[in-house]
């Protein structure tokens, strides 16, 4: 196995025992990045990363203690600010933007000597489910380059799935970590809303956005969450609760646990191959002593409509800041301020971003506010209650992550509504604010991954990771890598 295919956990041990150098890990990754063009990265920090690796190797030589994160190369989604590094959000409008500060998650990882390898491609402003909405061109799925990697964290996920990163940060608003994790066969976690600070994450829909870890093993996923979770005075919505030692506390007795299988997630629109594989996983868990209970989340059918009204309304407000005044692109010729702003935005935003700004502006405009945004916020309450009630009876909920395997590039791009429906199983937990994890099942004969989604109670990331870890041990899933 090449170094770029190893887990962070194993690489750390190899570094500590001086079996390998940090430089060797990095070279292995760079070799993979340059030999296989998936367009996963927008910016690579090659030279700087090599210098940083050198520094880590000196540290090792001097016999200093290494944190489990020291020198393990990490890819960062390009909507998370790293000081002085381009942060484009996949948009033309932020082409030249270099944030003068670090996101809080980046500060935390810098303290732990994590090694940043580059910024990954994404759907523009995290709006999309296929990574086709990037100004920097689509990312390709490592398992089949004619297919999408999913979105919007497609670059991060494709990099991890192909050995172009050991692990990565993504962001998830309605499924942007989990759906691509499912399409590319990696582990992806959307934490509880407020578990991870959003400071320095470029805002899309502020009441839904969360940064989360993407990795090839559950343990790595836990380790990365451990590094980034916790209260931050710079994010007023971050939760002031202790952070468990997720990565060292992964063992759990599965016998006697109750898993909820929501009937609404197994209906129309679910691909039969995906369903068959998910049902088999349920059966395997049952054999391991987990008791399945059929449950109902009755407002599931309203989730997509609710999500797209709330997310676009918040986006239309958040994206008002791109006006060609304080940062980013400004149009060349204009007569007045109105024209300067309208042309800057017209030229700087792509199709999907404009569409969502239009929908959100409409839903918030005079006369329509109550009918659209107001109703959606109330519907959100009902969706949230569905989860509260379900969790009175079960320990966790199990569903498919996405209704299909990865689709073809170009297949859905002309039909926005069809594209939105590929988030059907991931938006409900986002609306309820609860944590959810996508775990890769073994790759079927056609070579395209399928993901299993575990949904937990508020702040029960630890339990989700333990369950996922048990599945890993039972070999329900497959950590194989597309090289």
């Amino acid at each position: 196995m090449e170094l770029c295919e190893q887990s962070a956990f194993v690489l750390h041990q190899m570094l500590v025992s001086k079996e390998i150098s940090c430089r060797e890990i990095l070279l292995s990754l760079l070799n993979r990045i340059h030999s296989r063009d998936l367009n996963a990265y927008i910016t690579l920090f090659e030279e700087e990363a090599l210098k940083e690796a050198e520094r880590v190797d000196q540290q090792i030589k001097r016999g200093e203690d290494l944190s489990p994160w020291t020198g393990i190369p990490l890819a960062v989604k390009d909507n998370i600010c790293i000081q002085g590094k381009p942060t484009t959000c996949g948009s033309k409008i932020l082409t030249s933007f270099q944030p003068p500060y670090d996101a809080s998650v980046i500060s935390k990882l810098k303290e732990k000597d994590c090694l940043f390898i580059g910024k990954t491609n994404m759907d523009e402003f995290a709006m999309g489910s296929s990574n086709e909405n990037s100004h920097y061109h689509p990312v390709r799925n490592p398992w089949d380059p004619t297919r999408v990697p999913g979105g919007s964290s497609g670059g991060s996920v494709a990099a991890v799935a192909s050995g172009q990163a050991i692990w990565a940060l993504g962001s998830d608003t309605g499924g942007s970590i989990r759906q691509p994790a499912s399409f590319c066969g990696v582990v992806g976690l959307k934490p509880t809303y407020g578990r991870v600070s959003r400071y320095g994450l470029v805002a899309f829909a502020s009441s839904l956005d969360q940064i989360g870890p993407i990795a090839r093993t559950v343990q790595d996923c836990a380790l990365l969450l451990e590094a980034i979770a916790g209260y931050d005075s710079l994010d007023s919505t971050s939760l002031d609760r202790p952070v468990p030692l997720y990565s060292t506390n992964l063992k759990r007795e599965m016998q006697g646990m109750k898993m909820g299988i929501p009937r609404e997630f197994f209906g129309e629109g679910l691909d039969s191959k995906v369903e068959e594989r998910i049902r088999f996983a349920i059966h395997q868990l049952e054999e391991a002593g987990v008791e399945p209970l059929e449950i109902s989340l009755p407002h599931t059918e309203y989730a997509i409509a609710t999500y797209y009204l709330i997310a676009t309304a918040e986006a239309s407000s958040n994206l008002a800041r791109y006006d060609g005044v304080r940062y980013g692109y400004r149009t060349k010729s204009f007569r007045d301020l109105y024209e300067m702003q309208s042309k800057t935005r017209q030229e700087g935003f792509g199709d999907e971003v404009k569409r969502r700004i239009m929908l959100g502006t409409y839903a918030l405009s005079a006369g329509y506010y109550e009918a659209y945004y107001g109703r959606a916020q109330k519907a959100r309450t009902l969706i949230r209650r569905d989860f509260d009630q379900a969790f009175e009876k079960v320990d966790f909920i199990l569903t498919p992550t996405a209704p299909t395997q990865a689709f073809k590039i170009g297949e859905k791009i002309e039909d926005p509504l069809q594209m939105y429906l590929s988030d059907i199983y991931t938006v409900s937990p986002s609306l309820a604010g609860v944590p959810a994890l996508s775990l890769p099942l073994d790759i079927p004969k056609d070579g395209l991954p399928i993901g299993l989604q575990f949904i937990g109670k508020t702040l029960e990331e630890e339990k989700l990771l333990q369950i996922a870890f048990a599945c890993e041990e039972m070999k329900i899933l497959d950590n194989s890598i597309s090289s």
Partner: protein, 96 residues
């Protein structure tokens, strides 16, 4: 009857500061119509007496001590601006 007309699309584009082309107005009218038809399913719900969710986890305003703290320098704050002059953002004339 249409839910959203081309004229309304133009109006919303003006509010959102998007100088859409005529072609885009037509395309967005068609696509938004389809999306609005879909989201109209929320009308089926009885939402009487249901509180809206603005935050999934109840958080109260947390105030910090009112004391000056280090923040971005003027230089840093202006470093990404397309046009600046004498330590200010420069914009087209807004007062006649």
């Amino acid at each position: 009857m249409e839910i959203i007309t081309e004229e309304e699309v133009r109006h919303v584009a003006r509010l959102a500061r998007l100088a859409l082309s005529e072609e885009e107005v037509k395309k967005f009218q068609r696509q938004l119509e389809k999306i609005l038809e879909y989201v109209a399913k929320l009308r089926e719900l009885n939402l009487e007496g249901v509180e809206p969710t603005t935050h999934v986890i109840p958080v109260v305003n947390r105030l910090r001590e009112d004391r000056g703290k280090e923040s971005l320098s003027k230089e840093e704050a202006l470093s990404n601006a397309p046009n600046t002059e004498k330590g200010h953002f420069r914009v087209p004339k807004v007062i006649e």
